[in-house]
Symmetry: none
Subunit: 184 residues, 4 copies
């Protein structure tokens, strides 16, 4: 088996089990059993359980940053930009539901390092909204409304209620329009 096959199997199993049971309830022995490799094999690919978790988190963080960079420079109205950004994010996170689950719910509880990763990405998203809404009075509050709404859709509708992506995207669009209507 090729090196990256095994690594991928370990990552896939880890994502699955982390998202099902949480970081602390996931044992390395669970991951290797699911991946069908020996206990020692794990440590050929990852220095520790924490390092594996980090590499999972880094993947989603870098994807998020990529989307943010792309959306920052769009030549659109604020409303269009936010709609576009929301669709992109929902698309991405829908594709990696399990990792998203991990990112939104677990990262906070592991240790300071991961908490800081979460807060840092959060601030980047916040800055995107803030910049996009810079010509509005109450741009801080609007940022909080949009960020809260977006996270709610992810957390509750997409992940917990497991609604269909299209449905959630539609809800997002309707919500954004309602909020912008209040601004005119």
């Amino acid at each position: 088996m090729s090196q990256s096959d095994t690594r991928d199997k370990l990552i896939n199993s880890a994502v699955k089990i982390f998202s099902e049971r949480g970081y602390f309830n996931t044992k390395v022995s669970d991951i290797v059993k699911d991946a069908g490799v020996a206990q020692g094999t794990f440590y050929l690919y990852f220095k520790s359980k924490e390092e594996l978790f980090l590499s999972i988190v880094e993947k989603i963080v870098s994807d998020l940053e990529r989307i943010l960079d792309h959306c920052k420079n769009l030549n659109m109205t604020p409303e269009e930009k936010i709609l576009y950004f929301g669709r992109e994010i929902l698309n991405l996170l829908n594709e990696y539901r399990e990792i998203t689950y991990i990112y939104l719910f677990q990262i906070f509880t592991i240790n300071e390092k991961f908490k800081n990763i979460y807060i840092s990405t959060n601030k980047n998203i916040m800055n995107f909204y803030f910049e996009t809404l810079k010509d509005y009075r109450n741009k801080e509050i609007l940022t909080d409304i949009f960020m809260g709404f977006g996270k709610r859709l992810l957390e509750f509708n997409l992940l917990i209620e497991k609604k269909d992506l299209n449905e959630v995207v539609e809800e997002f669009e309707t919500g954004v329009k309602i909020i912008f209507r209040g601004l005119k």
Copy 2:
């Protein structure tokens, strides 16, 4: 020392340390050391570490339910009701910042039982908004907007940024007004 003194000391220490380090990074030995009692004493008051955590969570859940019950029957316009409810919740959770932290961030990762407690309370809050907004088109989406906005203020402004309660309450009021403006 009276029985309930020791119990309270254990709870206080637990709340402090759980909120600082998370459930899994908190050892029973940390809690008893902070409370100044012996290791064995812990088990005179709580069957297990999990049971102690549960009793902490139950306190905040019952307070939340109480507020919900009270607000449901208020004779106000929807906007007034939501403003009133928000102020109550922010007041409560500001008072128990540490427990709130635990409730919002940790409860999910421990096990299914705690996850269900979280989801259940969440649904109760959701139902309050849903009922309150029953005469509006898009009441589902509005519920998601309000719940997301509320949680965002708690999570980011009150807990992470540690803003002052009054400031956060004002932001909430402004936000709610903006959202309602879009509905007319």
Copy 3:
């Protein structure tokens, strides 16, 4: 059982097994089995296997330093001083044969930290001889002769051949006299 009973049992078992099998061939599980306590109990008393080893080594090192300090200030001829010192050392190390064994043969191989402890004590003994012989030409070489001879008696006659203490002390005295005879 009192705390220090358990600690002593662990130290005694460790000394015995370390001296029989060496540091790396001694497992914590061997020590606790010999001491008749549970695996976890070990870690109530010692942070790690290395720390236990250190505390054993420190005991003999501090005894050695004590003897050195005492002998430095004796008002005797060099020959008398060296004879006196040798008897003291042989007495001490005979009493702690097992620890001596550990000190002489194992300490070097564990890691740099322990190697440095060994070298440092060695230099202290060396300085004692050097000072005592300061009025002799070839004091460096004499120091090497005395240190080598002393260690040889410990290593081979006392520990490997397990000769009786009195016999070894007599050999030391005869040897020292022969060496001093060559200096006149």
Copy 4:
């Protein structure tokens, strides 16, 4: 690459790393990495890590035995013979400082088998001195003095202090003369 090239590379790397870190702190993976061959290649040349160590030790043991055999039959006075032997040994062990280091400090701690090799060679050297000094009273003690002195020069001056060979040889000669002076 020829068979024995690879074998030699492995031995050279092993000698280097064993002498730096000790037997137990040296991993097979360290040796193969240093030698620039694959992990599995190691086992084409050596049945085990222990067997490799043995083959290193056997080399120095057989050289020692060769010198002993050669020196036994020299037609010299005891003093000349001991001086000659000492120079030969110092020469040999200086050439293989790293292996000597291993031989003197590590061999003891690995297991009984290696301990016995050490003791056996030691007895052979002892017998050489004993035979050479057979006409002296106190030949046992003289043997201990010479062996101790010799080992001290190796251990401390040659290996730890890393003094120059010539200097150490000179010290040996001076020391031997002093000791013999005490015998007349």
